[in-house]
């Protein structure tokens, strides 16, 4: 298991208490799980993602990541409609372990309410939470 200071948390992303990340790009938001989450889960063997066009509220479950250890839900950091999913994860779920913020991204949504992003944790707040765990 990595120490917190060995984990990578890019600046400019927002983070949730459930260890998802969200990155806004105009009215679109890209979503995945954090380096901490993938390190805790271990080898990810399967990622279950929603269909294009599905809408979810903030905090709603939109998929699962299955590691050797367990099946874990992933929750929407902000509400919106799914406009893109990372198809590569069907054949290469290990990309979530290898590159959680890059090739391991999960879905992209059109956000309903851009103010919701501001309610998420900054890198500093997320790190603070992890240190308190």
């Amino acid at each position: 298991m990595k120490e917190i200071n060995e984990l990578n948390f890019p600046d400019g992303l927002r983070y949730t208490d459930d260890h998802e990340w969200a990155k806004s790009d105009g009215d679109k938001v890209k979503i995945g799980i954090t380096d901490y989450a993938q390190d805790q889960l271990g080898d990810i063997v399967f990622v279950e993602l929603p269909e294009l066009g599905e809408t979810f509220a903030k905090g709603e479950e939109f998929g699962t990541v299955e590691s050797v250890k367990a099946v874990s839900e992933i929750y929407m950091p902000v509400s919106g409609e799914v406009v893109s999913i990372n198809e590569e994860l069907a054949d290469a779920p290990e990309q979530v372990n290898e590159d959680p913020y890059g090739r391991g991204w999960m879905i992209e949504i059109i956000s309903d309410d851009s103010a919701e992003m501001d309610s998420l944790k900054s890198k500093a707040d997320y790190l603070g939470m992890l240190r308190g765990l």
Binding site: K2, K69, E73
Partner: protein, 425 residues
């Protein structure tokens, strides 16, 4: 009362390697190392892996009536447990798998019993169970002339498992040719206690005596090694370094769990436990007679097993892809008529197997399809209230998903545990 978390002698080594640690059986143990559990699982199928199993406990049973006490408390019939027809009595340097039951026929723990010599037995039990099994034996000792010693934390234990295990051990053993001569599955040689007459049968190149047992809990070819604690970390590092050229890696409990699941081996207190030890995939652990109508001996729990009214059945299953359900949820089992018939005991992914046409292949199958790259299959055990037949499909359901699986007799094919040692060196 807060349980004190114990550490094995390798704790610092595991942490240095960056292992993901967790509490198991009261010990802080590695779940996996940074290369990941898939690598670890596959290494044991194709090369070799080593496991710190020194959290497991050992009980020594000695004295003129030791055999008699074990005949009473252990499920295997020690008078008839070896040979093709299971008619030969346990002998020196052989060990057998069975369980200790209570009067209700329920499992206290499963165990391997080793006969060092007449009147000297070792029983290896699960983490934290040394005291309980020692007390159980002592409670049934009555007038017998037996000494029972709980050796918990007094013996170092590691497992090396996988087809290249013997080749690796050849580099660290003194006189390996002699050691590996006539060493079938479920036999052992040597002793970790230098004062034991058989101790010099297996020594490391530096002269340290070990007990080398051709057993393990992965279903693959390999060994369990017992050694005095003061030599344990050195032995671990010796084997780890010797194995590098053979692709040996250290493996955690997660790989051990997925490997044993695919090999249809039960985890004590999860797949066997406080319910009668019968109608499960492990009838070989009970002393059945030839036509399976009765037992060949009396033992603690036998009456209860003979007189069961509410039958439950434990079966192995294999899924059609790698998706699991969470057995902790708990997950339920539904039959073809969508009637709830039981619960899921274990659900893991064996990452070395996959389906092709109508059967399961392993990465180690000699006849596997060309370019076979399995993603793994979910597998494990269910306990149900109705009898099922092999091939029957049931549905497992947790709060999140439904998975259709087949009841099976066996899961991972082409396991190497029983391959003759001469083919492996």
């Amino acid at each position: 009362m807060k349980q004190e978390i114990r550490k094995t002698l390798l704790y610092d080594w595991h942490v240095e390697q960056g292992a993901n640690m967790a509490n198991f059986g009261g010990y802080e143990m590695p779940l996996w190392y940074p290369s990941g559990v898939r690598n670890e699982h596959l290494a044991v199928l194709t090369n070799a892996g080593m496991f710190d199993t020194s959290h497991m406990a050992m009980v020594r049973i000695t004295g003129p009536d030791a055999y008699d006490l074990l005949q009473l408390c252990f499920t295997k019939d020690l008078n008839a447990c070896l040979g093709i027809n299971k008619k030969i009595a346990l002998k020196n340097n052989r060990c057998v798998y069975g369980a200790f039951l209570n009067e209700q026929g329920e499992v206290i723990d499963d165990a391997i019993v080793y006969q060092v010599e007449k009147g000297h037995y070792l029983s290896v039990v699960n983490a934290g169970m040394g005291g309980e099994i020692a007390r159980h034996l002592a409670a049934h000792k009555r007038g017998r002339n037996v000494e029972i010693t709980d050796l918990t934390d007094k013996v170092g234990k590691l497992d090396i498992q996988g087809p290249l295990s013997a080749k690796i051990l050849m580099k660290v053993l003194a006189d390996p040719g002699k050691v590996f001569e006539k060493m079938p599955y479920f036999s052992f040689k040597g002793h970790f206690d230098p004062s034991c007459p058989s101790a010099n049968a297996v020594c490391l190149t530096d002269g340290t005596p070990i007990l080398l047992s051709r057993t393990g809990y992965t279903g693959e070819f390999g060994f369990e090694i017992f050694i005095a604690p003061e030599h344990f970390v050195r032995l671990w590092k010796m084997i780890f370094n010797a194995g590098k050229e053979y692709g040996l890696i250290s493996c955690g409990l997660a790989a051990r769990d997925s490997l044993r699941g695919g090999a249809v081996l039960p985890l004590s207190h999860q797949d066997i436990g406080h319910w009668p030890f019968i109608n499960n995939p492990w009838p070989f652990a009970l002393p059945y007679n030839e036509d399976q109508t009765d037992f060949t001996k009396s033992f603690i729990g036998d009456e209860a097993l003979r007189n069961i009214v509410d039958f439950e059945f434990t079966y192995a299953f294999a899924g059609h892809d790698l998706r699991k359900v969470s057995a902790e949820d708990p997950a339920i089992v539904l039959n073809a008529e969508a009637k709830e018939i039981g619960t899921v005991l274990t659900c893991v992914t064996d990452m070395g197997i996959g389906r092709h046409k109508d059967r399961i292949y392993s990465v180690a199958s000699p006849d596997k399809p060309k370019d076979f790259k399995p993603k793994g299959l979910c597998c494990g055990f269910v306990k149900v209230t109705s009898m099922l037949s092999f091939g029957e499909v049931v549905e497992l359901r947790d709060k999140r998903r439904k998975v259709k699986v087949a009841i099976v007799e066996d899961i991972r094919p082409d396991r190497t545990a029983r391959v003759p040692i001469k083919n492996m060196i």
